[in-house]
Structures are given as C-alpha cells and as structure tokens.
C-alpha cells in the first residue's frame, strides 16, 4: 500500500511549482493513493533480463538532419503573444530574480 501523506503531496507540489489549496492537497492525496495502488502491481513484473531504454524508438541509421541553417520563426511571430510588459527590445523580460 502506497503511503501518501500531506507532507509528501506538498513536497511534490513544491517540486512541480504548483501552489495547492488545502482542499486540493486533500483531494490529490486520496486520488494519488488510489491510482498508485493500482499501478503498483507493475512492481511484480520481472524485468531482470530487460534493459532500460530511455527512448524506445531509436533505431539505427541517421536521424539528424544536415547541420545547415534554415528559415525559422520571424521575431514578430516569436513575440506574437507577448502581452504588455513581457517584451523588452528583442528579449522576453522577467522580473528581477536575484
């Protein structure tokens, strides 16, 4: 049985940069426990003779295109959705972090 408590839910939310309400913490705690209980069965599958592959569909042969420059998005399209205060010169502007 998977133990999911408030502390763990809050830790995960912090890693995921989600600010959860008390109610959300309660709901996700229950729902994560129920989903994890189901998927935990997978731990019984023997994979001793199966290797870990991060991307299943890699195959032999050349996949990368030739390294030559191609047309890319124009500046106006890059900044198409930059609302008031989000753009400064040719950059996205963010508030001071440090």
């Amino acid at each position: 049985m998977v133990k999911i408590d408030d502390k763990l839910v809050k830790k995960i939310a912090d890693l995921a940069k989600l600010d959860l309400s008390k109610e959300e913490v309660r709901i996700y705690k229950e729902q994560m426990a129920s989903v994890l209980e189901y998927i935990d069965k997978i731990k019984n599958v023997d994979v001793q003779n199966t290797e870990y592959i991060s991307h299943l569909f890699d195959y032999e042969g050349e996949r990368l295109r030739e390294d030559k420059s191609e047309a890319s998005l124009e500046d106006k399209n890059v900044f198409l959705n930059a609302t008031e205060g989000r753009k400064k010169d040719d950059f996205f502007a963010i508030s001071k972090v440090l």
Partner: protein, 480 residues
C-alpha cells in the same frame, strides 16, 4: 438541389472538382451547422467563420482551370491541440485561452496544401488529458447520439462534431487512445498510425514518446485517403521516420478479402472489466471474420494487463517535464511582479485539475527516491511489452478486440474517480506503448443504440495491411 447533409468526403471531392457543387456552398452549410448544432454540443472552441474565404478561393481556382489539391474545398475540423497559424490555439486549457499560434502544425500545413478548409478548432480534454472530454477548460462536449453521455476523449469535439455531420473528417491526436476511443463511442472510424509516421511538429506536447496525430472519419477508405496526405518524414520532427509513404488508398484494393488473414485474439481482452454488450458485439465480429476466411488464433499475453500501469507512470512523467514550459513568462496575463510568485500563481490558477493531477503523478514518479521504482522500472516493462507484442506479430497478422470496455457513459459518471476514468484506456494504451498502428471501426450498437468499437492493431509501419484488413472487416460488418 442536393441534400448537403448527405454528401460525404469522396462525393464532395468529385462534385467540387466537376463544378457541380461550390465549395463555398458546402463550407457555408458546415459552418452554419458548427455554429448551431456544434455550439449545442460544445464541440468547438473556435469556429472559423472566415474559412468561407478559403472556399471561395478554391472555387475561383477551379473556375479558372488551375490545379487544385486532393482535398480542394473540403470542410474539416482540427483538434485544438494542433497549432493553426494566426488562429487561437488553446489545447482546451485556460492557460492558453488567448494564445495565437505563431505557426502551423505540419499535418495542418499538409491538409491546407491540398486545399482542405478548416472550419473549426475542436474541443478536447486539456492538453489531451482525459477519456471523456469532461476535463476541458472550456466545458464538456456532449455525445450527439445521446446528449446525456460523453463522446469519449480526449478528441471529444472531433468525434462529436463529425458524428453530428459537421465537417467531412476530423484530425485528432492519440496518446493512449484519444482518437480511437471517442471514435468508438461515437460510431466512427479512428486511426492511430505508427509512432513516427505522422509529424508531431506543432502538436502541443502531452507525452512526447506516445503522441501521434490521427484521423476520425466515417469509413476506413476515407481514413486511408487522408493518412496518405498527412504522413511522412518531417525535418522539424526528428522522431519521424525516413520511410516512403505507401499508397494506402490504392493498396486498399489489393486486399480483397479476409482469406487466410491470421487474426490473433488475446484472451486478456475478454476478462474482467469488459461489459457484456461490448463483448458480444466484438465476438460476433470475430465470428464473421472467421466465416469470411480469416484464421482465428487464440493468444495469451498476460503482460498486456500491465499496459495501464506503464502508461500512467510514463505518460505523467513526460507530462510533468513538458508542462514545465508553462512558466508565465512569454504569454498571458502577468499575475504578480515577483518572478516566483508569478510562476506559482499562473500555473495554479490556470491549469485544470486533471492537468495538475498528472503533473503531480509524474513529478512523484520522477522524484528522487522513486524514479528507479517507477519511471525506470516502467520504462523496462514498456520494452518488455513491446518485444512480446513484436514476437506475437511473427505468428499473427493482426490483434483484435474491443476499443473500449464500455459504450459511451453518462456525463459525470466517472469524473470524480480518476482511476475509473484511466481504465477506459485499457485496450488502447498498448498500441501507444509499443508504437504500433491501430484502428477502431464501428461493429454495432447495444440495445440503447449506443455504438461499439472494434479495434485492430498490427505491427509497426504496416498501415497498408491494417487499413486493407479493416476495410474488409468494415464491409462484412455492414453486410449483415
């Protein structure tokens, strides 16, 4: 005067080319339907009224005797998770509610190059997370066959609109069944091809090693015709394969019947969870295939049962990484001046509950102390499932079974129980886990008149064979 509601894809193509029907007339009819019936079903996030201009351009070209594309003047719809240049693209999430796509998805470009007229962007679960359409930030879509029921998901609006006669085909995306399952619940054909056959460029990422653009149509022939247009290597998506696109449509005629087709029936598909009406309809179809010369082979693949677990570990993991890009920096309203506060508030305020749930599950599965136990272990089980399925395809041509364990369910029935909702994908996820092509075709209706889907899966890059067998199966289902 032609009854425009009866005109399907191939007839429309023919009539428009022969100048017996104006694309403008056809597109206007479909737009009106999108704005009335489509609104009632909440099938659209954006209806593109201006698309009538594109229809006029096609008519003009034809009138002038200029060359036009294979889909000249044909009205269709595109799921709102695929980018359409200059047009609002929301992924059905409030976080993108005013986002204008700066470029088009490759599959969208290919359709437009052939003259297709996109009349609307269809509703779906947010970022395609869901099996009912109910998670959408723009409200649930209703099933046109019974408005108290869901149309399936995540391509909910694609299926609902097409089943309601709006548009002549629909483009959706399938990460774990999101094209096939709604097709099943709405009585349509749903095609998911081999991973890497259709470009993902411009598809707002859900789970990058699973996502596949797909087609919803009325017949297998239509799906084959559209697939031939949208398939192929794309330099903008490094995971597409540099293999020639076969002439799927022409090749349909090469498979004339089901004679000697080896049909694998995994017994695991008929154990717990499946409802009686679905089981009966699927078994009846298998019997018909046998009567028509197919060789039915009972197979057992216990590992298929692990599909849901693998899926709901790996997919949320990829989701949690992909969703990190929603950082409140490049678009949308600024919520706070402080960088971190703005980041937290933007994500927390605008991401839908199911989106947060999957980010939470994925972050958990990837976090220190759990990554080996969940993510890495599930990745190895994925390899194992894939290898076992590949082994099976040495003995059989196709694997068949139900698409969904149940018919369209009531709105709200499963919305408070994520696990019950996740289990809706039990038969569809394995094709995405192994990267295989699979198709859902309608195989009948239950007593209440609700459609039941029949799924056929085959080995990677065998779309021509899959479509040929599916077309023949469709024919024998319709004959009786």
């Amino acid at each position: 005067m032609k009854d425009l509601s009866k005109i399907r894809l191939f007839e429309a193509i023919d009539l428009i080319k022969k100048q017996k029907l104006k694309s403008e007339e056809l597109v206007r009819y479909h737009l009106e339907l999108a704005n009335t019936k489509g609104k009632d079903l909440n099938a659209f996030i954006t209806v593109l009224d201006d698309s009538i201009e594109k229809a006029r351009e096609v008519d003009q070209k034809i009138q002038e005797g200029k060359k036009v594309g294979l889909l000249a003047g044909i009205p269709c719809t595109v799921k709102d998770i695929l980018m359409t240049k200059g047009i609002r693209t929301t992924a059905a999430s409030k976080i993108l509610k005013d986002f204008i796509a700066p470029y088009s998805a490759t599959v969208v470009e290919k359709l437009e190059e052939e003259g297709a007229v996109i009349i609307g962007k269809t509703n779906c679960d947010p970022f395609a997370y869901g099996a009912s359409g109910e998670n959408s930030g723009f409200g649930p879509t209703l099933n046109p066959i019974d408005n108290t029921r869901v149309p399936g998901g995540s391509s909910s609006g694609a299926a609902a609109s097409l089943a309601a006669g709006i548009g002549l085909f629909a483009i959706g995306t399938d990460t774990g069944g999101s094209v096939r399952q709604p097709a099943s619940l709405c009585g349509l054909v749903g095609l998911k091809v081999t991973y890497g056959r259709n470009s993902r460029y411009g598809l707002i990422a859900m789970a990058s090693s699973f996502d596949t653009p797909g087609i919803l149509s009325h017949t297998v022939r239509e799906a084959a015709f559209i697939e031939e247009i949208i398939a192929g290597k794309d330099s903008k998506d490094a995971t597409t394969y540099d293999l020639p696109v076969e002439n799927y449509f022409k090749k349909l005629n090469e498979i004339k019947n089901l004679d000697k087709v080896k049909v694998g029936v995994p017994k695991q598909y008929f154990e717990q969870g499946i409802t009686q009406d679905v089981k009966q309809a699927v078994q009846k179809t298998i019997t018909k295939m046998k009567k028509n010369g197919a060789e039915i082979i009972d197979v057992s693949l216990p590992i298929l049962k692990q599909g849901i677990s693998v899926y709901y570990i790996l997919v949320p993991s990829e989701i949690s990484s992909n969703m990190a890009r929603y950082d409140g920096i490049r678009f949308g309203r600024k919520e706070e001046d402080n960088y971190m506060q703005n980041l937290l508030k933007t994500r927390s305020k605008y991401l839908e509950p199911e989106v947060k749930r999957r980010i939470m599950l994925g972050t958990y599965a990837l976090s220190a102390g759990y990554a080996d136990e969940y993510y890495k272990h599930a990745s190895r089980v994925r390899v194992k499932i894939t290898r076992e399925i590949m082994e099976l395809f040495k003995e059989v041509d196709i694997l068949v079974g139900p698409t969904s364990p149940f018919v369209a369910f009531k709105l709200g029935e499963k919305s408070n129980d994520p696990l019950a909702m996740y289990l809706a994908d039990v038969y569809t996820v394995n094709a995405n886990i192994a990267g295989c092509p699979a198709i859902s075709i309608n195989c009948g209706y239950n007593k209440e008149g609700l459609p039941i889907g029949f799924q056929i899966m085959s080995e990677k890059f065998s779309e021509a064979k899959l479509l040929g067998i599916a077309a023949n199966t469709e024919k024998i289902i319709n004959e009786s």
